[in-house]
């Protein structure tokens, strides 16, 4: 597999049946709304070199960077640019995306080494380039920009992310009352879109393979702090665990990169505090929590 030059990618698969993908002469990317109104800057544009990490498990033993020359305009997002490459230059380039409005959490990539949502990052901010696009750090790479999410899905399930009620707190019919004040207690932590940027940012995720990780812990805290939930005791053994919250050393990068302002770093430190309190409570009342 030769590394292809600008505008001449994809020597591999397509060569087999003699068909080359459309070259760099192909259409401009789909237009997007430009910055407009008061915040409008000058209409910009040009071309940029994307250096995209390629890894196909059936072909390569190790990843490499492939260059693509891509036209852009003010409103071209990084996701648009990748889609343009897929449609016009290299159909085998693989990445996840769906909503293109920063809510489904599919399109996390490392952009010049920083975890970002592709649909919410704009090429204009990386011009004149080159822009390096790699799969999220601290994840196994399945193919190109697609990473393995199964470990996260396991963590997600492990933290019991659902309302747990108990005999002493029957669920009222038809529903609970919850004041806006009570909602604030967990509201921020319920905004997570599972985009995994925080996992890519957190060095401890890379160092401790069994760390639950920022988003999963945050979800546990989200339910623990919900006035309708009574499951904190049940979640304690998952959090207060070698691979639970303790690998976190409060680096704080998770919160810096979070595109939704969730602040997982805060959630984890609060979980540590709550866990220490639970520990102390059990120390004083050794039978607390048993038999439930």
């Amino acid at each position: 597999m030769t590394e292809s030059s600008h505008g001449h990618p994809g020597a591999g698969a397509s060569a087999a049946d003699g068909v080359q993908p459309v070259g760099a002469t192909a259409e401009q990317p789909e237009p997007r709304p430009r910055r407009d109104g008061a915040a409008a800057g000058p209409e910009a544009g040009g071309t940029i070199t994307l250096q995209v990490l390629r890894y196909r498990p059936d072909r390569e033993d190790a990843p490499y960077l492939q260059d693509f020359e891509v036209p852009w305009r003010t409103e071209t997002s990084v996701l648009d640019a990748l889609t343009w490459v897929k449609d016009n230059l290299e159909p085998s380039l693989t990445f996840r995306w769906s909503c293109r409005m920063a809510i489904c959490g599919s399109c996390g990539f490392m952009l010049n080494g920083e975890p970002k949502l592709g649909c919410e990052s704009f090429v204009r901010d990386y011009a004149p380039g080159p822009l390096r696009i790699e799969p999220l750090a601290n994840h196994a790479v399945e193919r190109d920009l697609v990473v393995d999410l199964e470990p996260f899905m396991a963590s997600l399930r492990a933290v019991q992310p659902y309302v747990i009620s108990d005999d002493r707190h029957p669920v009222p019919e038809p529903g609970n009352r919850q004041t806006p004040e009570q909602m604030v207690a967990y509201g921020q932590y319920s905004q997570c879109i599972n985009c995994m940027l925080c996992y890519a940012a957190c060095p401890q995720v890379g160092l401790a393979t069994d760390f639950l990780g920022p988003a999963a812990v945050t979800l546990a805290v989200r339910y623990n702090k919900d006035s309708r939930d009574h499951g904190a005791d049940s979640r304690l053994p998952i959090l207060d665990n070698e691979g639970g919250i303790w690998p976190c050393t409060f680096v704080g990068a998770c919160s810096t990169v979070c595109p939704k302002g969730v602040d997982p770093a805060a959630a984890i430190q609060q979980a540590k505090g709550a866990t220490a309190q639970a520990w102390a409570a059990e120390f004083i009342l050794p039978h607390r929590g048993e038999g439930r």
């Binding site: 053994p237 207060d240 220490a276 639970a278």
Partner: protein, 119 residues
Amino acid sequence: MRRWQGRTNEPLMWALFGGGGMLAVFTMPVLIIAFGLLVPFGGFGGADGTYERMHALLTHPLVSLLVFLALGLVLWHCCHRTFHALHDLKLHPPEIVRSAIYGIAMLTPAIGYSLSLAA
């Protein structure tokens, strides 16, 4: 105390770490400037002057105990971070190293206090 697979004593370690940190940030900058710079360079008069004032208060066994405990707590905080820093360096130290590091935090004030009592 409930037990479960994977449970650690980390809540205690962390609580002490947090307590020590809290104490450290309010006191250490002041203590370092005061005892590392001002006292030696005569900011509060000669060494005998400071000796007078400090000796009067700090040699009381109870006060002395509290002070050593406080210093121990701060040291705990520092050792806790040192231990985790080893982990950050991808050195995954064996139990013995861990015991040694936290041991420093416990033994230093203990030895200090016994020596003081002996003095």
